[in-house]
């Protein structure tokens, strides 16, 4: 393996995992997705164009693989939109800080197209053009998905007022919910 390729793959893994978890909502499943992505990428490394963005290429493979798997599964078992949120609840401790659970739940309720667009642009740091390439759609489509995702997130978190939003609000909700 070319050391530069090896290093580029290694560098992309943390972000690939974060993207995979945001797609499927389950850490174990996400890690399997990342592993399958690495195997596919290295088996097809000849089709990678040197000088282009390795990370974007890996994201594309992961995203397409997830989509085809997801479609397959959907045919096998009736997979409702609630399954993502359910899988989030089953492993909350693996997802990181609890103060963001409210946000995670809202994120989980977004339609998959909107969620992936928002993550790619808002968290993975891809440009609208790169995100459009990864998702195989027009730049304008990505922009409108990101906008709709933001609006929906704000609605889901019922933000009427910025003061209500953020860790303080979450902390109050947690304190109100559980007495100990």
């Amino acid at each position: 393996m070319d050391p530069a390729v090896r290093q580029a793959v290694l560098n992309a893994i943390p972000s690939l995992r974060a993207f995979a978890i945001s797609l499927c909502g389950n850490v174990d499943r996400a890690d399997d997705l990342v592993q399958e992505t690495m195997l596919r990428a290295l088996a097809n490394i000849h089709s990678f164009q040197p000088g282009t963005n390795m990370s974007a290429w890996l994201f594309t493979i992961l995203r397409n693989h997830f989509r085809s798997e997801y479609r397959k599964r959907r045919r096998e078992v009736e997979d409702t939109d609630g399954s993502y949120a359910e899988s989030l609840k089953s492993h909350p401790e693996q997802q990181g800080h609890v103060e963001f659970n409210e946000f995670r739940e809202a994120l989980a309720k977004l339609p998959p197209d909107q969620r992936e667009a928002l993550i790619l642009v808002g968290a993975s740091g891809f440009s609208y053009e790169e995100a459009a390439n990864i998702c195989g759609c027009a730049v304008g489509t990505i922009k409108s998905r990101v906008n709709r995702a933001r609006t929906r997130l704000a609605e889901l978190m019922s933000i009427d007022n910025v003061d209500e939003f953020g860790p303080d609000h979450t902390t109050r909700a947690v304190l109100a919910g559980g007495d100990r």
Partner: protein, 57 residues
């Protein structure tokens, strides 16, 4: 001031402040995972792939 609470209509354009807050939370959630680094299984997998690569050539 309490009187400053503005009633947002559904579908109204989000304020810059709310967008910034949403962006912050999104990155925090994402970075929680990114900061976990590379789990051992992936480092081991790469090593294994590297070995079988060398065996073939």
């Amino acid at each position: 001031m309490q009187a400053a609470i503005d009633q947002k209509k559904p579908g109204a354009k989000l304020s810059r402040e709310i967008q910034a807050k949403l962006g912050q939370q999104l990155r925090a959630v994402y970075d929680d995972v990114v900061n976990q680094g590379v789990p051992d299984r992936f480092a081991a997998l790469l090593e294994q792939l590297d070995k079988s690569d060398k065996g073939n050539s």
